[in-house]
């Protein structure tokens, strides 16, 4: 079944095309079609992951250009994460997009992106990865400019320019790497065995790293991410906290550990320079988040800072660091999507966008703000939340490298995280303006249930981290 991998990629795209030919009798039918389709695609994805034959060669154009899919631990992790979160987002989007409008268009590109993400997770060499990486930009672009306002179009343009510049760097890096090795397959430990680490390889690594870090919103390539927050909330949540930025991170893991290998990267002596940028990313993201009035922008800067943690974990190049990074990849995705969904609910019910407006809102929507609080605490990393576990491993990784400074940075940033998230919780719950009438403003169930379930997942990951931890530890052990 060599073409099995194509099913979860093509199926959502076919669904998207089908939407334009089927006349839905009413809103309910369309919802059933979309939800059923996304759920079915989740099952297809799981079938691909459990396939007995993990290597699927689809099409070979020449030595470099080969479309090739492979199922390994990393792709399992990433695909499982994205396809689970996709289901939640679909459910959440129904009501939310009802209020934004132009749903037909939204769900078309939403489904196409779902297929593209599967392609990204299953890509078995960097060429296949690159194809889907470019398609990801193209398919998410209409979602970013969904509202069609001048501001949205400007942000969209920024997004395209940043993404394509990054992709061009990636292409350059790929060509340089290929000119040395002639092999671009993702293999644990890398493809560099037996090659001397020369200038060209070092250049290739740095160029690839910088290219991919555009999507991962590393300083100084981050400014498209806050700008892209003009998109509807489900898009911000899924694409800019989960799929798009995380595919940048995923690419960095693939490049570092599956193309170059930890040993080779260590031998290059470029980690120092790159980690300066990453430390800047962590600190700058947190500091700027502190004084963002707009809730979504605050979360966007928080994402930048949290992604910095993950990149730091990758560059530590030891087992604990990588474990922490991958764990944080998952945890941050779940937490950040919860936070975005809660903010989206506030916008949906009240239209409030800034922290000044939500004074006392916790009394009116206690469940939503309760979930927001739990997620905030987890992101800060207080024990026994899941954020604590991942940060613990990151700190351990830093200590193993004899870099106590990293631990200090993590702690400082955790305090800053508390500094920008807790005020939201506090404003929402405590100085309640009682003169406003107290009506229950909780959203429809279709929006609330995903938030509750995601919060549940966050709590469970915090209390019982072992299952997923073992899985991730197995991956990182195989790589280092």
């Amino acid at each position: 079944m060599k073409f099995l991998a194509l099913v979860p990629i093509v199926f959502p795209m076919a669904l998207a095309a089908g939407m334009h030919f089927i006349e839905f009798k009413n809103e309910k039918h369309r919802r059933a079609y979309l939800f059923g389709g996304v759920f079915l695609n989740f099952i297809f994805a799981m079938m691909v992951l459990s396939t007995a034959q993990p290597e699927m060669h689809i099409l070979k154009i020449n030595d470099f250009m080969e479309i090739y899919f492979k199922v390994d631990g990393m792709s399992k992790l990433f695909l499982a994460m994205t396809s689970v979160l996709w289901i939640f987002t679909t459910a959440y989007s129904f009501d939310y997009m009802n209020h934004e409008g132009k749903e037909q268009k939204f769900f078309t590109y939403f489904l196409v992106t779902a297929g593209v993400i599967v392609g990204i997770s299953l890509a078995g060499n960097i060429f296949t990865f690159y194809i889907f990486y470019e398609f990801l930009t193209l398919s998410t672009f209409p979602l970013v400019i969904h509202t069609g306002t001048r501001e949205a179009l400007a942000s969209g343009k920024k997004y395209l320019i940043y993404s394509f510049s990054g992709a061009t760097l990636v292409l350059l890096g790929m060509i340089l790497l290929f000119s040395v090795t002639g092999n671009l397959e993702f293999m644990p430990g890398g493809v560099l065995q037996g090659f001397a680490i020369g200038k060209r390889l070092t250049a290739a690594y740095v160029i690839l790293f910088l290219g991919f870090s555009v999507k991962a919103a590393m300083v100084p390539f981050h400014s498209w991410l806050p700008a892209a927050m003009v998109a509807p909330t489900p898009v911000s949540a899924l694409l800019h906290a989960v799929a798009v930025v995380k595919s940048g991170i995923f690419a960095l893991v693939r490049t570092t550990f599956y193309l170059f290998g930890a040993e080779a990267v260590k031998a290059m002596h470029v980690r120092g320079y790159l980690s300066i940028l990453i430390v800047l990313t962590i600190l700058m993201g947190s500091f700027v988040a502190l004084h963002q009035e707009n809730l979504k922008k605050r979360l966007a800067y928080s994402t930048i800072s949290q992604l910095g943690y993950i990149m730091l974990g990758i560059l530590l190049l030891n087992e604990d660091g990588l474990t922490g990074a991958l764990l944080h990849l998952i945890n941050h995705a779940v937490i950040k999507i919860t936070l975005f969904f809660c903010v989206g609910i506030i916008m949906y019910r009240t239209g409030y966008k800034t922290i000044g407006e939500i004074r006392g809102i916790g009394k009116k929507m206690p469940i939503t703000m309760g979930c927001f609080s739990i997620a905030s605490i987890s992101l800060i990393g207080l024990p026994p939340s899941n954020g604590f576990v991942s940060k613990w491993y990151l700190a351990m990784g830093g200590l193993q490298e004899n870099r106590a400074i990293f631990v200090v940075i993590l702690l400082v940033s955790a305090i800053l995280t508390a500094g920008y998230l807790l005020p939201i919780v506090v404003t929402a719950f405590f100085p309640g303006e009682m003169e406003r009438e107290l009506v229950n403003k909780e959203p429809p169930l279709m929006m609330l249930v995903p938030v509750l379930m995601l919060t549940g997942i966050t709590v469970v990951f915090g209390l019982f981290p072992n299952y997923i931890l073992h899985f991730i530890q197995n991956i990182s052990r195989s790589l280092i």
Binding site: L59, K60, I61, N62, F64, M65, F127, Y130, I131, E134, L138, F141, P142, I145, G148, T149, R150, L153, G156, K157, L160, I161, F164, S165, T168, L171, L172, I175, L176, S179, R200
Partner: protein, 493 residues
């Protein structure tokens, strides 16, 4: 001698005879039938020729049955065969498209003339590609110059006449330089047949190196003018912008290419790399190609008129071809020839779809085309695929072409030139994407506007769809074409 050996001559004769037959019948319908069926016959013959050459290798065809130094010869190898198929495919698609569109651009009286000119043009271009005799090539160059000016001026508007005059003057200048080059080579060697010149030149090389440099310089500038090598491209934007859509497609897809093929033949067959390698010419060609790749795109970004922008993009794309030739390696040459294919298909699809948009909406400027994707979704989709191919999105032919250049650059140990290839493709994104995006998503300008259903029927778009399928085909399985080109290159020497 196999049957197919005479087909190249038959192709040219069929095209020329049909060109002269068209004016006899005065009706448009007859002109169309004759013109297109001649192109159809030639298309089939060109495929048969290519298949024969693939099987049995390159051959010489003695047109008058006299041997080489006295008679005129054709040399048909895989490259020539491929070019024959490419030229006939594109011109057939353009002719097919012209059935639906040319009436809008031209007055009734001029339509038969258009078909005459197109068949003359394609026949003479194939003559340039096939002929192994320099003077014979020159005759074909002159025919093609007149015919290509003709298809610009056939739409008799003021700006067309101006553009055609500009084109005619510069193009004649180019022909003149080529003629001087031929004269110089003839006075040195006493031959006009390419392999014979080559033999003579090699024997007299060291003492006449300066004369040879002058001769190559004359050919470079002369053919450079005709194939829009930067900075000799100044005639191109006007001619391509004002011509009818079908003419622009032919001009940029085929006319520019034939002269490049002749240039390649002059470098490799007439002089040979052993001589050219000693001279600084290729480095200059490489430099001009690289500058053209960047400058053409920068100029395209500055344009407000859609067709003019597409025309400037041709300058950039021709820059790639000269870049590949200038590298002086086999892989560079193969990349250049692959780029000829890529550009011929992509640019003709772009010109035809841009022409459709202009024809149906009546708007010329890019800024007026916001939301046009809502009115003409399929035409815009074709334009989008063409644009994305030139930007270098994987699985489209433009990506393969760029990849070939990257490999060639690395093989030639000039890694720093990678930057030129990549920057140029990034610049392409800067002018194609805004059009696509505003076309599909620029909705605010649609408010209060009545939707006019201006889309062309799918039937009329089919020829363009065929071209776009070619773009996708060379993107998905470009390896086959490239290895065919690589197999054909030794026969060029």
């Amino acid at each position: 001698m196999a049957v197919y050996n005479s087909y190249p001559l038959v192709i040219i004769l069929v095209l020329f005879i049909s060109a002269f037959a068209i004016p006899i019948f005065k009706s448009i319908k007859a002109a169309r039938t004759i013109g297109i069926s001649a192109a159809g016959i030639s298309f089939v013959l060109s495929i048969l020729t290519l298949m024969g050459v693939k099987e049995n290798g390159a051959y010489y065809f003695r047109v008058g049955h006299y041997d080489a130094p006295w008679g005129i010869e054709f040399h048909i190898g895989i490259i020539e065969g491929l070019m024959g198929v490419l030229f006939m495919t594109v011109s057939l698609a353009v002719l097919w498209f012209s059935i639906y569109s040319i009436d809008h651009d031209l007055s009734k009286k001029k339509v038969p003339l258009f078909y005459t000119l197109v068949n003359l043009l394609v026949g003479s271009l194939l003559g340039i590609v096939f002929s192994d005799d320099l003077f014979n090539c020159f005759v074909f160059i002159e025919i093609s110059s007149i015919a290509s000016c003709g298809i610009v001026v056939v739409k008799d508007k003021k700006e067309n006449i101006k553009a055609a005059l500009k084109y005619l003057i510069l193009s004649s200048l180019g022909s003149g330089l080529v003629l001087m080059g031929i004269a110089l080579v003839y006075s040195l060697t006493g031959h006009l047949n390419m392999p014979h010149i080559h033999e003579a030149l090699v024997s007299i090389y060291p003492e006449h190196s300066r004369n040879m440099l002058i001769a190559i310089g004359l050919f470079t500038v002369g053919l450079g003018v005709k194939s829009a090598m930067f900075p000799l491209h100044t005639w191109l934007p006007d001619a391509h912008t004002f011509a009818p859509a079908s003419s622009s497609a032919l001009l940029s897809a085929l006319v520019l290419k034939a002269y490049v093929i002749l240039y390649i033949k002059i470098i490799h067959r007439v002089f040979g790399m052993s001589i050219v390698g000693e001279l600084p010419v290729l480095n200059i060609v490489l430099l001009l190609g690289a500058v053209g790749m960047i400058a053409g795109s920068v100029l395209a970004i500055l344009q407000k008129n859609l067709k003019r922008m597409v025309a400037y993009s041709s300058v950039a794309q021709m820059g790639y071809v000269f870049f590949g030739i200038g590298l002086g390696t086999t892989m560079g040459l193969a990349a250049a020839i692959f780029q000829i294919f890529n550009h011929a298909f992509t640019k003709s699809a772009l010109f035809l779809s841009a022409g459709s948009i202009l024809e149906k909406t009546g708007k010329k400027n890019i800024s007026d085309l916001k939301g046009v994707g809502k009115e003409m979704p399929f035409t815009m989709a074709i334009f989008a695929i063409g644009g994305m191919s030139l930007v270098g999105i994987p699985l489209l032919s433009g990506f393969n072409s760029k990849w070939n250049f990257a490999v060639a650059v690395i093989e030639a140990h000039r890694v720093e030139l990678l930057a030129v290839v990549l920057i140029s493709s990034l610049l392409n994104a800067l002018y194609y994407f805004p059009i696509i995006i505003n076309g599909y998503f620029g909705e605010e300008s649609l408010e209060g506007k009545v939707y006019r259903n201006t889309e062309r029927p799918i039937k009329e778009l089919l020829p363009v769809i065929v071209l776009v399928l070619g773009v996708i085909y060379f993107g998905v399985s470009g390896g086959g074409l490239l290895s065919l080109i690589e197999a054909g290159i030794p026969a060029l020497n």
